[in-house]
């Protein structure tokens, strides 16, 4: 049985995720969209903390809120003039987007509700501690992830070099 406080926290976080993500795609100032995206990412990190994945929440805050949003803000300030709004959308394109999004919402919501997943209680689990995470990340045995880890390091290196080459002045 969960306590009342955690239920209240869950409701607050869920509502803030929905509201800020709607605002992030509907606001017309692009810098505000980036700020709402930041709030959504923080709320997602809170969800990870509530689900006992502390390491994942910390990674979410560090990488997304610390890295990606700063990149977004720099790119926005480099590529747009302050104070201009995006133009108003044509109704046909807005209608197309709304129909697609609502169809997706109906399908996923119906699937979740038909499985009665809404009232599932949280099964007991102790937090994965740092030693366990490190061994899973760096081990070579069954269910351990050394090869994807190395692949992602090569990918990041290639991304760094590619970013420098693409953004370089000729």
């Amino acid at each position: 049985m969960e306590s009342v406080g955690s239920i209240i926290l869950y409701v607050v976080v869920a509502v803030s995720i929905v509201v800020f993500s709607v605002l992030a795609v509907t606001t017309r100032k692009i810098l505000r969209a980036a700020t709402y995206l930041l709030f959504t990412l923080f709320a997602t990190a809170v969800v990870y903390f509530m689900l006992d994945f502390e390491f994942l929440g910390a990674v979410q805050i560090a990488v997304y809120a610390g890295g990606i949003v700063v990149l977004f803000v720099f790119a926005i300030l480099l590529t747009s003039h302050p104070g201009d709004n995006s133009s108003r959308l044509t109704s046909k394109r807005r209608l197309l987007g709304l129909v697609g999004a609502l169809a997706m919402l109906v399908v996923t919501g119906w699937t979740l509700l038909s499985r009665c997943a809404l009232y599932a209680s949280k099964p007991a689990m102790e937090n994965p501690d740092m030693k366990q995470i490190g061994q899973t990340l760096m081990g070579t045995g069954d269910g351990q992830y050394l090869l994807p880890f190395e692949a992602i390091s090569v990918l990041l290196l290639a991304c760094i070099i590619g970013g420098v080459v693409v953004a370089r002045k000729r």
Partner: protein, 89 residues
């Protein structure tokens, strides 16, 4: 959240706004992985590991996309996808 991202990706015509929508969608998928891991397979760490790798790849992809966008802006002084209809400058 995924639906919001989908709506934004279909309707926005500024490249950075489309990238924001893309991040929303990626984030929703990550959250699904973590929640299903927590509720269906407590004690296992597959969903968490997948989310970790997804966050890493998302960071790489965003950095590269922003580099490309800045380069396009330097060439044509515009990042509106309606007006990017040529590949050679």
């Amino acid at each position: 959240m995924f639906c919001c991202g989908l709506y934004g990706f279909l309707t926005r015509r500024n490249m950075i706004a489309m990238l924001v929508s893309l991040e929303l969608m990626l984030n929703a998928v990550d959250m699904n992985f973590v929640i299903f891991n927590r509720f269906l397979f407590p004690g296992a760490m597959e969903g968490m590991m997948f989310t970790l790798f997804a966050i890493g790849i998302a960071a790489a992809e965003t950095a590269l996309a922003i580099a490309i966008i800045i380069n396009i802006f330097r060439s044509v002084h515009n990042i509106d996808v309606r007006e990017l209809n040529q590949m050679k400058f």
